[in-house]
């Protein structure tokens, strides 16, 4: 089962072509969007997401849902890319090593538990 809009957005990171959608009045969001919740605009363009973003908040998850059971413990973070924020799992760093204010890059990885594609974040 695919999720139109989301799947294309996620997989764009594989080719380093991460993007967000911007409405006619400059509000950034993640797809799929038909209307801007900030202003009601229905005209969107795809814009390149900056290559790195800043960790705005982060936690180390010790008790995971079954779909991430084998991944635990892991860090999940909300990252500010400027026009939009993204949530993902931190990789290539020990848990707790990445802190608020650190720079990370988005990519696509796989859940150790299910093998499903996951938005991952690598320290810059």
């Amino acid at each position: 089962m695919s999720d139109a809009g989301f799947d294309e957005w996620l997989h764009a990171f594989v080719a380093d072509d991460g993007y967000y959608v911007e409405c006619a009045n400059g509000h950034g969001h993640l797809p799929p969007r038909r209307i801007c919740p900030d202003c009601g605009s229905t005209a969107f363009s795809e814009e390149a997401l900056p290559e790195s973003g800043t960790v705005e908040t982060i936690t180390t998850v010790h008790v995971a849902a079954p779909s991430f059971e084998s991944d635990a413990p892991y860090d999940t973070a909300v990252v500010d890319f400027g026009p939009a924020r993204v949530t993902g799992i931190v990789v290539d760093a020990p848990t707790g090593a990445v802190e608020i204010g650190d720079e990370v890059e988005p990519d696509v990885g796989a859940s150790e538990t299910t093998g499903d594609d996951v938005l991952v974040l690598r320290p810059v």
Binding site: V61, V63, A64
Partner: protein, 392 residues
């Protein structure tokens, strides 16, 4: 517009009852409310029932008429789903129905059966209250979501991690103290600050005792118009005088604030305006402390504290039972328990009893006249606030 009175309330014990069906739990609460009110079931004109995960936990959809039947009702019945605020919106819509004159007697409440599944399954089912695409698929559990808010709070207000954990542990300890005499509470036992701090981590900075338990239970509130109460000589001195609801973006990443809950700000402002009061008039509050940080965010949204100032309230004693503004005299979600779809109704039931004087902790607020309930859905993408008042 008709005034709304709480004619009766009913609760099941909140706890681990894996063998009990949702329909049986709700019937018990509903019949208790009927007995408490002294209102015949034939007079109930509408049932509003909150439930979050019945289709997942019991494989049962189309819940409302089933629950109405179980409670001996033969009136129109509707299920409300707003995650953890399901019963809050069920009560709110009941209040609006009675006010409008559409009905004189409405039963509102909620039910959740949770412990018939193991913790990982419940964790997964609770996660559907978050954004499935952008949060759940990024490993965000509910404790993780609130942990993200807690870390953002600490960062926003320059709070040391150790101080954050200590202040949150004080919230948990306070609420356990309040639950000790509450016969409906899941945990009628003390939790020391040290025990809370020593608990295994769930999602840092939150440990096991920062998190509410997994709970089975049901709540019911019988609301009537002032005219019905007078005509039937009911003992219904507590009125619902204010109701409000707010909303925010679903995913944390899409919010203006990660360390504040604007949906609850809006719900509180609406409810206070509706009641013609401000935060200073509130004597006692029941708030949605699904995680300890959630109580902090709630008391700030309710206007009791400025942003960043609510964290130390429990440690300082201000929100303890003997403090200036007792919060969660029931034990809160933390110690009373959190059967998700029932919680908002249980807050109304507990507050009505506190104000009536027949709650085991009523003596802590003997002169209280105004109480507020705060019920939140998810990471407060939804919030419902009610103002209750002793009317006579």
């Amino acid at each position: 517009m008709s005034g709304v009175r709480v004619a009766g309330v009913g609760l099941t014990h909140f706890g681990s009852h894996p063998e009990r069906t949702g329909r049986d739990l709700f019937a018990e609460a509903a019949l208790s409310a009927k007995e408490d009110a002294g209102v015949p079931l034939d007079d109930v004109e509408q049932l509003n029932v909150g439930n979050f995960a019945g289709p997942l936990s019991e494989g049962q959809g189309h819940l409302a008429p089933l629950l109405g039947e179980a409670a001996g009702l033969s009136c129109p019945a509707t299920r409300y789903e707003e995650a953890c605020a399901s019963a809050g919106v069920a009560v709110r819509e009941a209040v609006r129905t009675v006010r409008s004159g559409e009905a004189d007697v409405v039963l509102a409440g909620g039910v959740e059966r949770m412990t018939n599944h193991d913790t990982p399954e419940v964790t997964e089912s609770l996660a559907i209250a978050a954004d499935e695409l952008f949060e759940v698929r990024a490993g965000v559990t509910f404790p993780a979501a609130y942990a993200l808010m807690a870390e953002a709070y600490a960062d926003s207000f320059g709070i040391d991690e150790a101080d954050l954990k200590t202040d949150l542990a004080n919230v948990a300890s306070k609420n356990h103290d309040n639950a000790i005499p509450n016969e409906y509470a899941q945990y009628q036992r003390e939790l020391t600050v040290e025990q809370a701090l020593d608990a295994p981590p769930v999602a840092e900075p939150l440990g096991l005792f920062d998190c509410c338990p997994i709970t089975d239970g049901a709540s019911a509130v019988l609301l009537v118009s002032e005219e019905y109460a007078a005509d039937h000589d009911l003992d219904a001195e507590v009125a619902v005088v204010g109701t409000g609801q707010g909303a925010d973006r679903m995913a944390l990443q899409d919010r203006e604030h990660l360390a504040r809950t604007p949906a609850a700000d809006d719900a509180a402002a609406m409810a206070y305006d509706d009641a013609g009061i401000d935060a200073d008039a509130v004597d006692v509050a029941e708030v949605h402390d699904c995680f300890t940080i959630a109580e902090v965010l709630a008391i700030e949204s309710l206007g009791f504290y400025d942003p960043g100032e609510g964290l130390g309230a429990a440690r300082r004693g201000e929100t303890r039972a003997d403090g200036d503004l007792p919060v969660n005299l029931s034990g809160g979600l933390k110690a009373k328990g959190h059967p998700v779809g029932a919680t908002g109704g249980s807050q109304i039931a507990e507050m009505a009893r506190i104000l009536r004087g027949d709650h085991p902790n009523s003596d802590k607020v003997a002169d209280a006249e105004v109480g507020v309930t705060h019920n939140a859905g998810g990471t407060v993408a939804s919030a419902v606030v009610h103002v209750l008042e002793v009317a006579e």
